[in-house]
Symmetry: C2
Subunit: 122 residues, 2 copies
DNA sequence: TAATCATATTCATGGATTTGAATATGATTG
DNA sequence: CAATCATATTCAAATCCATGAATATGATTA
């Protein structure tokens, strides 16, 4: 009776995989940063106030899970979300918990082309 | 620069808490069983083919997280989902992964009043 | 090709999670 | 109150995960 597994739990693994990725404040914070398009690693560093290597670790997790993609532009590497459906998940949990997380440090910027452009024009 | 934590990661904890609960095939399977209303533990046992004490362990996790509630009716204890918003989260991930999980063993039944009623009437 | 820049990887350790096995609880019936 | 039923809890071992520290990579510039 115990050996006879009635339900095939395996199809759920793809789902638990995603949840596992999201079980991490820094990774959720990174995804939230990427809501408005691609950003470089140094930007996240300035924004989150976390060590570079630590952010890279979390980016690697997100990347290997297929949730984000990177693109090199000169010195910087820009990350973007692959499938915006991930935000449906995040939004659903925000609604469930009533814990919306606004932009934490909108003025933070780095020396990447994106931020430099914003600084000179704004 | 490293000591100065720019973002307050704490608000994200409520969200990661929920994700942590969902990082578990059996717990997701249980929640899916409860989609159509309350069910007793023996029903889940028959449905999932997992040991009773194991299911109780997972029910305890879900219960302590405030996601489900129990109600005793005679010998049986019936569980139900507290806030159906949890299914918005599950549905979002199902869409993201393309992994829909249908009813695995719809004929499974136990001796609880609910299942007995279905058997005699159907 | 050496220096520099942004970013990535590796590794070790402490801490958390999973899960099987055994046992406990508490309502119900006789 | 003893037996029985459905369900819950405890505990320990194995495994998994988070994170700091150190170091590596690989494009770019001089």
């Amino acid at each position: 009776m115990i050996e006879e597994q009635k339900i095939n739990i395996d199809p759920l693994d793809a789902q638990t995989q995603v949840f596992k990725i999201l079980t991490h404040p820094a990774r959720i914070a990174i995804l939230n940063i990427l809501r408005d398009g691609e950003h470089c690693v140094c930007h996240m560093e300035a924004y989150l106030g976390l060590r570079q290597s630590y952010i890279s670790q979390q980016l690697a997790v997100l990347r290997e899970a297929g949730l984000i993609q990177d693109r090199r532009d000169g010195w910087n590497i820009f990350y973007r979300v692959v499938n915006p459906d991930i935000y449906t998940v995040l939004d659903a949990v925000q609604k469930l918990t009533g814990q919306a997380v606004g932009p934490s440090n909108p003025v933070a910027s780095c020396n990447c082309p994106h931020c430099m452009a914003k600084q000179s024009s704004g």
